[in-house]
Amino acid sequence: MIDTLRLTAEEAKRLLEAREISGAELFAAYLAAIGERDPELHCYLHVCDGSTEDEGGGEGIPIAVKDVIGTKGIPTTAGSKILEGYVPVYDSTVVERLKAHGLRILGKTNTDEFAMGSSTENSAFGPSHNPWDPSRVPGGSGGGSAAAVSGGLAPWALGSDTGGSIKQPSALCGNVGLRPTYGTVSRYGIVAFASSLDQVGPVAKTVRDCAYLYSIIAGRDECDTTTVELPQPVELPEGADLKGLRVGVPKELNEAEGIEPGVAAAVQAAIAKLEELGAEVGECSLSLSVEYGMPCYYLIAPAEASSNLARYDGVRYGYRADAAERLEMYERTRNEGFGDEPKRRIMVGTYALSAGYYDAYYGQAQKVRTVIKREHDALFETFDALVSPTSPTVAFPLGARTADPLAMYLCDLLTIPSCMAGLPGLNVPCGLSEGLPVGLQLIGPQFAENTLFRIGHALEQAIGFDPVPERLR
């Protein structure tokens, strides 16, 4: 009997190699779990049946893939009606790499439309639900991937992160998620949102699984010229000793308005654990990054989105509205095909880039981005990593923030600054508040994933967080 709620990818790999289970049995176990629990959780927009070569014919570990990641022969909608029915004719590079490792695609996971959102409630196909409490959101935009891993509907998954879409849902669902250093994972074949920020990354039950999946997808890809080779290979973390590591606690990221007391308490306790494990912990400041990160992000990301989403015009793929003339067809297709949030962002971005406003909005935001980058760089002269809560709150009830776009934007207050600087961030579960998971965010300098894995693994062992939702145990 395979317990998909507890099985890690590492253990699945061992069982497969020892021939204690077959790839087909493993795949079937996850399909059964999906059949049982996905009607309630709605993690998947498409479930594979394992029948075609496109799904990865190997005997390997199953994996769920966020629906902004292109998969040959498997529908890819980005959670949008404008891409309903779109079936890519080529694989994204990350999916090619999964298949080259024998991994098998279980299905495509739910996301806020075009990865714009923090709850999956912006998905055109309905929200996903948090496995810890289905009346609450799983976070977003990658809530489908995070909820699938926590709910035992996939051993691990790929997500994508622009301003927090891997880290924040991992925090709300109690799993481990890495937003990699910008440029370490190929964006080729990914539905683009904000190209200078988008990164694909792993979601898993353990830090070791997360590191292993990162090692599979990372590295230079000639189809994405922003990618680079990793300066050093990925190391699977082993030790529990953090001697010699200096960890900074940025005051503003830990004391920001809106951080729930239960979240702050769990993170404080985890920081004390880091000291017990031998790390040197010191307070520091990220005042400008935290104060100006949000406004900077909500200019740059929509500006890039307004440009990227111009391709959805009803000509080459996706939805097309009926119209007698071409301009009418473009405008009607886009208005009927896009949901509210992409429209808002297209409008903000188009405005910020338009003649007369460019310098005051987009140009100024790019300069703020330099300030944010410099402020982070300066801290990494003193510290090896920074620590804070990932999300100011635990999972909130469905519907609680949908009426107010700005309230939803605040979900990413703590994850956005390091994204603007292109830095890696790891979410590690660090406890519960009101019976719901609290996530701790570790931020490192560029290419410091191994340091984050080392700290995250040591903390994971010390805390002993049980990633299986209480109600499913």
Binding site: Y182, A310, L327, E331, I346, V368
Partner: protein, 96 residues
């Protein structure tokens, strides 16, 4: 800086969005809230700070200029809403 109805319709046209009347009203209020929040970036005096368009210092990347296989016409047209032969078919241009 507030955005009025006329500007909103101009931006919608630039973005090729045909907004419905109820959307125009809702968006006008929401965009003004959002623009007020993001205008915070103008508080900083950054005259001497260079812009960052990208987190990396990758300068330029050249590929070998060698032909290699690419999508077939059939694959490229596979998702077309409408096609004619090897072409994407669209409605006629009209006055605009």
């Amino acid at each position: 800086m507030a955005i009025d109805r006329e500007q909103l319709l101009h931006v919608a046209h630039l973005a090729r969005l045909e907004l419905r009347e109820d959307e125009i009203e809702r968006l006008e209020a929401q965009l003004n809230d959002i623009l007020e929040a993001v205008s915070k970036v103008s508080e900083l005096d950054l005259a001497d700070v260079p812009p960052t368009s990208h987190p990396h210092d990758v300068v330029n990347v050249w590929d070998q200029d060698e032909p290699r296989p690419c999508l077939s016409a059939e694959d490229a047209l596979a998702n077309a809403p409408e096609r004619e032969g090897d072409f994407f078919k669209v409605p006629p241009g009209g006055a605009a």
